[in-house]
């Protein structure tokens, strides 16, 4: 692969057709022939473009809106910032109660919170600014890119030929699909961060990770929240004990829970929306100032003209890829939410890099070889990595679980964060870790220790010999591991 002098290959232009927010310029390469063309500047696209450029490739990065994708602008970043504000608020409310009677409970000013979210987004966006990308040798083109043939992409009238391409356009919030609930009359898990006034009554449709996180957060900020889930439990992908703890935690906070309930219609009632629900054919209504629809995310394949490049896809599963992330066009790869069942930022970044390694660096990395953790950021958090127990048993793997309750962990007790557990799954009779579920206030951090152990082949016994700080919540992992050699 030819390398190129970075300073000579990029130049700044002004007057972009669609300027990114916060930047008044766009950068583009002097040539329209690239080693790698990346469509989408979200986590997958950015990670891929940077790795490719740093490896010496000529890289074009196409983005039709803002750098950073959903994660930064309307996903993981603002939601975690909102949850932080909500947690703070819940703490203040509790402290107010401890002060005694006569104290007013604090009222959340959502406009101030929203402004804080924007500041956080801008700060994190700085790490992937146009200037930084340019310094790394990435040509950024703003505009709606689409394939025009198996080897070329166009934005407007400009054509770009590529040796390899990566589709990394992410996913978008799925439409509500509720009769009577018109577009614009509800917010989604992406647009909710634009609210500047706290809804007095918020109805959340959907009990997946995003719906649960946002329902609990708004409840803690002071909204009266009703969450409607059409299945028998929240988080269908998680194990029973975890999902039940979450349900109780939300109920504890005051979220009104409607399980096994479908929203079958909606109507306007003045400034409010009335949702019509059905639970085993029992009809009911829920009136709300705001409706938040969080019924999943669908691959963003619109307008890419994938057919022109011979790329197989469908609207539900997105771009079809093999275990090496290659599409049906052998020169085009895909990464991130547009092709993954696991729609997480860290998976997008990882698969973005993997696609580049396979496409340009002659590697043969397999998606199935990844150890993928995930987390639902409720209070407590629910994190998982590897196999679920039922998955292992379906594969005829005899699995044994070593469990430590957070209520027995000193640090969890001192912090009053003792709801949850650590479960480490091993093959019965061995100590190889094949999966773990952690429910704890910092499960998202704790799960990474298990990921390292799994990635490095560290078994339960060795993990149990690793000294942990005291007191720490992570010591629950060590204690669960140590229990392997304890007599029953």
């Amino acid at each position: 692969m030819k390398s190129r002098p970075r300073s000579a290959s990029v130049r700044a232009r002004s007057g972009a057709a669609r300027a990114p927010r916060g930047h008044g310029q766009r950068l583009a390469g002097s040539s329209h022939r690239y080693d790698l063309a990346v469509i989408g500047a979200g986590p997958a696209g950015l990670a891929a473009a940077l790795l490719a450029a740093r490896s010496g490739a000529r890289v074009a990065l196409f983005e039709r809106e803002r750098l950073g994708g959903t994660s930064l602008n309307s996903g993981s970043v603002p939601s975690k910032a909102l949850i932080r504000s909500a947690t703070l608020f819940a703490g203040i409310r509790e402290a107010t109660r401890l002060q005694g009677s006569g104290q007013r409970e604090p009222i959340a000013d959502l406009a101030k919170i929203a402004a804080r979210l924007r500041r956080i987004e801008e700060r994190i966006a700085g790490y992937h600014s146009l200037a930084r990308l340019a310094r790394d040798g990435v040509d950024v083109h703003f505009g709606a890119a689409k394939f025009i043939d198996p080897h070329a992409i166009a934005t407007g009238a400009t054509r770009f030929r590529f040796k390899k391409a990566l589709v990394a356009t992410g996913a978008v919030a799925a439409a509500a699909g509720i009769p009577g609930l018109a577009e614009g009359s509800y917010v989604t898990s992406e647009s909710v961060f634009g609210l500047t006034q706290l809804p007095e009554q918020l109805a959340v449709v959907g009990g997946g990770p995003l719906g649960c996180e946002l329902a609990q957060a708004f409840c803690r900020l002071g909204s009266h929240v009703t969450i409607i889930q059409d299945e028998a439990k929240f988080l269908p992908r998680e194990e029973r004990d975890a999902a039940q703890i979450l349900a109780r935690a939300m109920a504890r906070d005051g979220v009104e829970i409607r399980l096994n309930t479908r929203v079958v219609g909606a109507r306007a009632a003045g400034a409010r929306v009335v949702l019509e629900t059905e639970n085993y054919k029992t009809r009911d209504t829920i009136a709300a100032d705001r409706v938040l629809v969080s019924v999943g995310r669908v691959p963003n394949v619109a307008g890419l003209n994938l057919e022109a490049a011979g790329i197989a896809f469908d609207g539900l599963n997105g771009v079809a890829v093999d275990d090496f992330l290659r599409t049906s066009n052998p020169n085009v790869y895909a990464a991130g939410d547009v092709c993954m069942d696991h729609k997480y930022t860290h998976v997008a970044e990882s698969t973005g890099r993997m696609a580049v390694q396979n496409a340009l660096l002659r590697q043969r990395l397999r998606y199935s070889g990844l150890i993928i953790p995930w987390c639902t950021f409720c209070i407590p958090e629910i994190a998982h990595v590897g196999l679920q127990i039922w998955e292992a048993r379906e594969k005829s793997i005899p699995v044994k679980t070593y469990t430590m309750m957070m209520q027995d962990i000193d640090r969890a007790i001192t912090d009053r964060q003792d709801t949850g557990f650590v479960k480490l799954h091993v093959v019965e009779g061995h100590d190889r870790i094949i999966g773990a579920t952690i429910v704890a206030s910092r499960a998202s951090e704790m799960i990474n220790e298990v990921c390292v152990a799994m990635h490095s082949g560290i078994g339960l016994r060795r993990l149990g010999r690793v000294m942990h700080t005291y007191p720490s919540q992570a010591s629950a992992i060590c204690l669960a591991a140590m229990s392997m050699d304890e007599p029953c």
Partner: protein, 446 residues
């Protein structure tokens, strides 16, 4: 058949004592509490149709599961000399005739459908009440009692009992209850069809699968049970290797009829345990949890435990940042994963007496001495929460629940004589169901 006489029958026939529990030996205490529990069955049943009330509260409907326990209790009563065989047979016959003749239709007012029955029935006319579900597990508990009396009443003049019992079992369409899915549904409503809830993880459904597998007419495929057991979790928890299920009753209901000692299915063979041993370990787990008492509630101790499904106080506790202080009312509680609101089931310790007799009796004695208000007329209340209004003795559930009383009668008998276990070991349906479920070893191979 005529089951063996209980080994300690003479001692057991001692009249109920009025002395304090602490002054009674174990046999006398068991006799007293067993008979007290049985008195619920006769007191709260309708002699005209055999239906038994769910609770002692005014206007309570019949619970079909309680009827299943009651049928089995009549056997115990005969052996203990509390009822003549003739009187017991008459009660049984009235009950079986009612179910045999009851309406089995799709319409909402029926008593049952497809051989199953609605969870709650009107005590007088036997029709469905409360818009309740056609309950597959509660029907199973009823059928378990039906099978038990079909085995016990083996004399020539008792043929109608045997024939009717067999007919009731044969007409249950277990395959229909799968709703074309790999496993069994939990129930069905005439207005909407099958309930969405499935059976996930180990629980009281074990006997449901075994009786469904053993059916001579509508047997489940073997894979159905195996598919359900894929949701099992074998874990080391609070020092125990255990197939976890939170509420204690889930470790007891199937065991009221089936003797799981020494017989193992594929899951238990892999993990070198059996379901009986698993219940013993679950008791140990409850004791360990209550000794640790992480929620620092009043009452919990190594010898005061018993967290299960039962009545409890209600009330919306303060919306707190980190601690759940709500009370859940009637709820299936479990530990250590919860829910746990400090409510104990006073009957639960004693119900484990066939498994861990020392722990059961030590716990029961301590409970009776510390909180005698939980046992009136020699019958335990459904729930007790000493953290609620502790100055007035804590919250105690009103009256009694039939399930608790029926379970106690049977479990105490299994501890005293093994009567019901011995009886059901001879059941062709049970043996067939166990074998089709992959069970082997122990008494099943003999």
């Amino acid at each position: 058949m005529s089951p063996r006489a209980p080994p300690r029958a003479a001692a057991a026939r001692v009249a109920a004592s009025v002395s304090a529990p602490a002054a009674q030996d174990d046999a006398s205490l068991l006799e007293r509490l067993q008979r007290g529990a049985f008195a619920y069955i006769t007191r709260y049943s309708n002699p005209l149709n055999g239906l038994v009330a769910d609770t002692s509260r005014a206007g309570a409907p019949c619970s079909i599961a309680v009827v299943g326990f009651a049928l089995t209790c009549y056997i115990v009563a005969v052996e203990r000399g509390w009822l003549s065989r003739t009187a017991a047979a008459q009660r049984v016959l009235v009950t079986l005739r009612f179910f045999s003749a009851s309406s089995q239709r799709e319409d909402p007012q029926a008593t049952g459908y497809q051989g199953f029955y609605y969870h709650f029935l009107d005590m007088t006319c036997g029709e469905r009440v409360w818009g309740c579900e056609l309950s597959f597990i509660d029907s199973t508990l009823l059928i378990a009692g039906v099978l038990a009396v079909g085995l016990y009443f083996d004399r020539p003049q008792e043929a109608e009992i045997r024939d009717t019992a067999e007919a009731l079992y044969r007409r249950v369409d277990w395959r229909w209850a799968q709703n074309n899915t790999p496993t069994l549904a939990q129930g069905w409503l005439p207005e909407v069809g099958f309930l969405h809830y499935g059976w996930e993880g180990y629980n009281e459904a074990l006997i449901l699968y075994i009786l469904a597998l053993g059916s001579p007419t509508h047997s489940l495929g073997r894979s159905c049970f195996e598919t359900w057991t894929l949701t099992y979790q074998w874990e080391r928890l609070l020092g125990q290797d255990v197939l976890y299920s939170g509420p204690l009753f889930t470790h007891l209901f199937s065991h009221a009829w089936i003797d799981f000692r020494g017989i193992r299915d594929g899951f238990m063979r892999t993990n070198r345990s059996d379901y009986f041993e698993n219940t013993c370990r679950s008791v140990a787990l409850q004791r360990e949890y209550c000794e640790r008492n992480p929620r620092q509630v009043v009452g919990y101790a190594r010898d005061i435990w018993g967290i299960s499904a039962g009545d409890g106080p209600t009330g919306e506790g303060a919306r707190e940042y980190a601690t759940d202080r709500r009370y859940f009312g009637y709820m299936a509680r479990g530990v250590p994963f919860g829910p746990d609101d400090g409510t104990l089931c006073p009957w639960a310790m004693l119900a484990t007496v066939p498994f861990t007799p020392q722990a059961a009796l030590a716990g029961t004695r301590r409970l009776l001495s510390s909180f005698p208000q939980v046992c009136r007329e020699d019958r335990f209340a459904s729930g007790f929460n000493p953290s609620v209004n502790p100055e007035s003795g804590g919250w105690v559930s009103e009256g009694w629940y039939g399930l608790d009383q029926g379970l106690l009668v049977i479990m105490i008998e299994n501890a005293r004589s093994g009567l019901i276990w011995s009886l059901l070991r001879e059941s062709a349906a049970v043996r067939r169901g166990l074998r089709r479920g992959g069970f082997s070893g122990g008494w099943l191979t003999r």
